[in-house]
Subunit: 339 residues, 2 copies
DNA sequence: CGCCGAGTTTGCATCGTTGCATGCAACGAT
DNA sequence: ATCGTTGCATGCAACGATGCAAACTCGGCG
């Protein structure tokens, strides 16, 4: 029932190959012929059959995006931007959720997994290791900033250390000296947390400020619940901090909730800064100051980098390009002068 | 370079067709043969080539999900559940964003659009009309609850009127009588808002309560900004309400923010109820009571319904099945007894 | 002992497209 | 007039899988 090249060819009185040339905008087609064939294409409503083209060319026209979980706002916003960036490049995007399971990340990327359906994959890894990536992969892969700092592979992201320094400097400039960091993470997958912690300590020591015991908190979970719990612990300590630097906005949301519950005013008594600059930050109470690494730019660069990898012959070890995206602090109402 | 059926056949000493039979779990393969072939498959790492299969069978193994925007938490959570539901059915999922543009919804579904790449589509429509759906589509379509009430097509969603009634009854049971509704919408795409408004008015009149002028607010936008603006308007009115029913949680987020800014305590002075039961509701300040239509169930039923449509011969007018998912009220801290 | 049929296995054609190599016409240069 | 050369257009053969129908195997039965 669907219209094929053959149908169009018959209709336009040319060969199948010529129709293909027109449909693909190949050069070396006479203007007159092109117009006539194009007319037939439009008239019959012909569209390229992606399966057949894919079979012939080995390309699918589809990119994969692997994120831990779409319902986390950060990844939802990232997916939003990536879908758009892919569409701008004329590619479709399939989204997979790994839930942070290393095995899922690994198996999907292997030649037998989903990667088979993709020309390339953009991966926001949590559990995957360098050796997993050294295995033969089903398609070229670009890693995104989260937890991928030490993997030798093409990579796009922000500079965690420098951005953490900027965040702390923002708080110090407001007069804070008793600052806590929420979001450190031991063990595998904790690279991001470690880098941000490093930046935190660096900025503190550069300012000549001590980092008191217990001021670097590893939350029980990296969501609002974890942030809230961390704040309750900090409030119970001998000398509670006057400023909190949360390693992601969801932690900060939980922090705000716990502070509100404890009737502690933000930012009058405690300042809070988050990280990711989520859309919702504008409407937390109070609106949340946050570290911003523009997701649209990350997505666009990731697609661009991936497309450039596609040009290279497969099997070639891809150069471990690292594209660093500028960060800055989006100031809102949750940070203010120290009391 | 990739392993094909032919490679496996040679390796196992059987015909290509038999390998295909094993790979697809067809009956009528002798157990011994099956085991031997399976061993070869595993050993060589053979995987079905989806493009080739797709070309032959006409199926792609991919479902499409069309939502207005992934960065809206509601659609992100819905996409999360839908990806999972599709995976459970052995299908991949491609996500497209329509930004609510009718033309995008329409063109992607037409035979020439993305639908070409999909076995079926799950669509959360905003602008699409009944006549658009009556056109020849590129694949079977299941509509989701939002704004699709009056379209003749297979549909999965909650009962907006009944759920709105339940929400209002919850507020009335707490002693509220001065209740406002935020989220009405005139014009195309406003069906959801109209139904929820209908439920609101119905519950009020059933309780013998008047709906005062200006108490049904059409927000400037359906996000937190719109909710905040609506609340500011309501607060400026002669007799401000003591309870707010917001037609989605993002509106409610904005409402909470505006109330906090006005130093009005929730729920002591004003109660707020939202709709969608977003993950983040647990950590708003205070935690947001919300109408819940379980997204996991919606997604699962939508995939199930879509798969059942795939069985029917194309061209057949699909029966306009409507699957209604139960709602209930998730009570949290933002609703309380009237002052 | 040969035939039957259920249970297995196979060969062939084909899905719609593009890579490749070649055909063909027209034109300018020799 | 002839020979490249360039620019268009074409035919054929794949890509890797599955639908179809035929063929084979073998135990059981007339």
């Amino acid at each position: 029932m669907p219209v094929t090249l053959r149908d169009v060819a018959r209709h336009a009185g040319v060969s199948v190959r010529t129709v293909s040339n027109v449909a693909n905008d190949f050069p070396h087609v006479a203007p007159g012929t092109r117009a006539r064939v194009q007319r037939s294409i439009d008239q019959l409503g012909y569209r390229i059959n992606p399966a057949a083209r894919g079979l012939r060319t080995g390309r699918t026209g589809v990119l994969g995006l692997m994120v831990p979980k779409l319902s986390q706002p950060y990844f939802a916003e990232l997916a939003d931007e990536t879908v758009q960036a892919a569409a701008d490049a004329g590619l479709a995007l399939m989204v997979e959720q790994t839930e942070g399971r290393r095995e899922a990340e690994r198996s999907w990327l292997r030649p037998g997994g989903m990667a088979r359906m993709w020309d390339g994959a953009i991966v926001s890894p949590l559990g995957i290791t360098g050796s997993d990536l050294a295995e033969r992969l089903g398609c070229p892969v670009v890693l995104l900033g989260e937890h991928a700092a030490d993997l030798r592979a093409p990579w796009v992201g922000g500079d965690n250390v420098a951005a953490a320094v900027a965040a702390v400097e923002h708080l110090i400039a407001l007069g804070h000296s008793e600052i806590a960091a929420i979001g450190a993470q031991r063990g595998a997958g904790g690279e991001t947390g470690r880098e941000r912690t490093k930046g935190f300590r660096l900025a503190m020591s550069d300012a000549g400020l001590p980092v008191r015991k217990g001021r670097v908190v590893e939350p029980v979970s990296f969501d609002a619940a974890g942030g809230a719990a961390a704040v309750r612990t900090l409030l119970a300590s001998r000398r509670p901090p006057t400023a909190l630097m949360c390693f992601n906005d969801e932690l900060a949301y939980g922090a705000l909730a716990a502070l509100a519950q404890a009737h502690i005013s933000v930012p009058d008594e405690v300042s809070v800064i988050g990280w990711d600059d989520l859309r919702g930050n504008e409407f937390t109470v109070p609106a949340l100051t946050s570290v911003r690494v523009p997701k649209a730019v990350v997505a666009r660069e990731a697609v661009r980098l991936l497309l450039s990898l596609l040009g290279q012959p497969s099997g070639t070890e891809p150069a471990p390009v690292r594209i660093v995206i500028d960060h800055h602090i989006t100031e809102r109402a949750s940070t203010g002068p120290a009391a």
